[in-house]
């Protein structure tokens, strides 16, 4: 993926976060987007990492979710068990922000394995906190490169539940952010294209989706990054720690 597409994903992800929300941030793109939001329009966004870090304000983009920079700038770091029990399980996390390897039309997310679990083609890292975050956050944002094999009819393995029976609380995935556009879920929990990045056609999105994707009656174009967003992105992405 070229850098401008990567940047546009981060910008869209950031825009979906509201000031003062508590967001539990995964590694990689979620981390980038959440840090961008905090620098641009949501200065009081509370960044929480599954490592136990509460309200981090990293001076540069942290490589991992347990980096010393996160701890040094945090409000506090909780034992992980307290974070998961007393903050996540109880519904105090507004947004879970997750990446993964595959997502399907119901928003089920796979970060465990490509192929079968018992004889894998590619063994991925696994859940970490993702299954917990998807089950307990008030809403979930998913970020994913838009490729047919990453948007299959059914994911190879449901690591984190989407819109189906059995989530514990919260409204489940609210959006999927890709390098082609922005998707949400209709009232039945089915994924739907709502906007594209500049220069991306609806047909292109449909072609790059492995299942037959619903399209909203009004597909908008995502506004270009503002100068402020661009500057903040350059500062963040330019120098990973």
């Amino acid at each position: 993926m070229d850098e401008s597409r990567r940047r546009d994903m981060a910008v869209v992800g950031a825009r979906l976060l509201r000031d003062r929300e508590r967001v539990l941030v995964g590694v990689g793109m979620p981390n980038l987007a959440a840090n961008l939001a905090k620098r641009v329009h949501a200065p009081e966004l509370v960044l929480i990492y599954e490592s136990g870090v509460i309200d981090a304000r990293p001076p540069r983009l942290p490589l991992s979710i347990g980096d010393p920079d996160l701890v040094r700038t945090s409000l506090c770091t909780l034992p992980m068990t307290d974070l998961f029990s007393q903050y996540l399980q109880t519904g105090w996390i507004d947004v879970g922000f997750l990446g993964g390897a595959q997502v399907d039309r119901r928003g089920n997310l796979n970060s465990t394995v490509i192929g079968s679990y018992r004889s894998p083609e590619v063994r991925l890292a696994g859940s970490g906190g993702a299954a917990d975050i998807a089950s307990f956050s008030k809403r979930t944002l998913i970020v994913m490169p838009h490729e047919p094999k990453r948007f299959p009819e059914q994911v190879d393995f449901v690591t984190s539940p989407g819109h189906r029976d059995g989530r514990v609380q919260g409204r489940g995935p609210s959006h999927v952010i890709t390098d082609l556009g922005l998707l949400d879920f209709d009232e039945r929990g089915e994924m739907r294209l709502v906007a594209t990045h500049r220069g991306v056609t609806v047909d292109e999105v449909l072609e790059r989706t492995g299942f037959s994707l619903q399209v909203s009656s009004e597909v908008g174009e995502i506004p270009a990054p503002t100068a402020e967003e661009l500057a903040a992105y350059r500062e963040l992405a330019g120098r990973p720690s």
């Binding site: 010393p68 465990t112 859940s127 906190g129 299954a131 089950s135």
Partner: protein, 284 residues
């Protein structure tokens, strides 16, 4: 270090090397490789490079974990090859479930409750539940995880074995209290009573510590808050070199098997590199 491992770590045991990103006891892992332990069950929320190396060295039959990635970099290639090749068994959880397993053992309970998780991992396990006697709720439960030995790296200890640490404690305390035997390495050992005023940083009282080893830089390439920062470059280097099993083996040969101890391991790194990590840690 050498004595702690030789006395307390046996073939076939289950071990938990504690620490989430922070305080990972790499030096213990390397010593276990050098002493050629075999058929171990390695438990850790995040296997991280330490288990990738131990798996590559052939010490493990089984890994119990919740996130087997190279944090912020990608996958663990030795782990991945071993799983894809059927060379090790795995037993996999979400973080919350694995922490619950530690909590159960640390509290002496036969299970730990958490609200039900509906996903393919729990489906495979049959989603054991218990019913609340107080209402209609059904609660998921996980089994205790009681390692034979938990290994911990920390900032400091006094000569009585009272262990002190701070910063990101992750799973350390629960993992230690879940085991009967706890081996601890520290950056610094101070006289009895010297740390008495640091009570808010006490991690483990001496009576919970089986053996204590002085091991400066014992967590490298992981970090010790305020002492030395995480060696991010090493995590990226390992990502490259471990893609090739021959290179991974060569690294283990040079940095683990051919060295006598931690001091000799450190001598293989440029002093400037370590100095930079030390300075980056500031006093935070």
């Amino acid at each position: 270090m050498r004595e702690a491992v030789s006395r307390h770590v046996r073939d076939g045991q289950s071990l938990y090397l504690a620490g989430f990103t922070h305080l990972i006891p790499f030096s213990f892992g390397h010593e276990i490789i050098r002493q050629e332990r075999r058929h171990l069950t390695l438990c850790r929320a995040t296997p991280d490079l330490v288990y990738d190396q131990m798996i590559a060295a052939g010490v493990a039959d089984r890994v119990v974990f919740s996130y087997a990635g190279n944090p912020g970099v990608g996958l663990l290639h030795c782990f991945r090859r071993a799983v894809e090749g059927g060379l090790i068994e795995i037993e996999e959880y979400s973080h919350f479930e694995l922490l619950g397993r530690l909590q159960a053992a640390a509290s002496g309970l036969p299970f730990w409750p958490l609200l039900a998780l509906d996903n393919d991992l729990t489906r495979q396990r049959g989603r054991p539940v218990v019913e609340s006697p107080f209402g209609p709720e059904r609660v998921a439960v996980v089994e205790p995880l009681r390692p034979d030995v938990t290994l911990v790296h920390a900032h400091m200890a006094d000569e009585d074995g009272n262990v002190y640490s701070w910063g990101l404690l992750g799973d350390v305390r629960e993992a230690a209290l879940a085991a009967d035997k706890v081996l601890v390495s520290v950056e610094e050992i101070l006289p009895v009573e010297a740390l008495r005023e640091q009570r808010d940083h006490l991690l483990l009282p001496g009576f919970r510590v089986t053996a204590l080893a002085l091991e400066p830089w014992g967590a490298h390439p992981s970090y010790v808050q305020g002492r030395y920062d995480r060696d991010q470059l090493f995590y990226q280097e390992w990502d490259h070199l471990s893609r090739d099993p021959v290179e991974a083996t060569a690294w283990l040969e040079r940095f683990v098997l051919a060295v006598a101890d931690r001091r000799a391991y450190l001598d293989l790194f440029q002093p400037e590199r370590l100095e930079l990590l030390r300075r980056a840690a500031g006093d935070g």
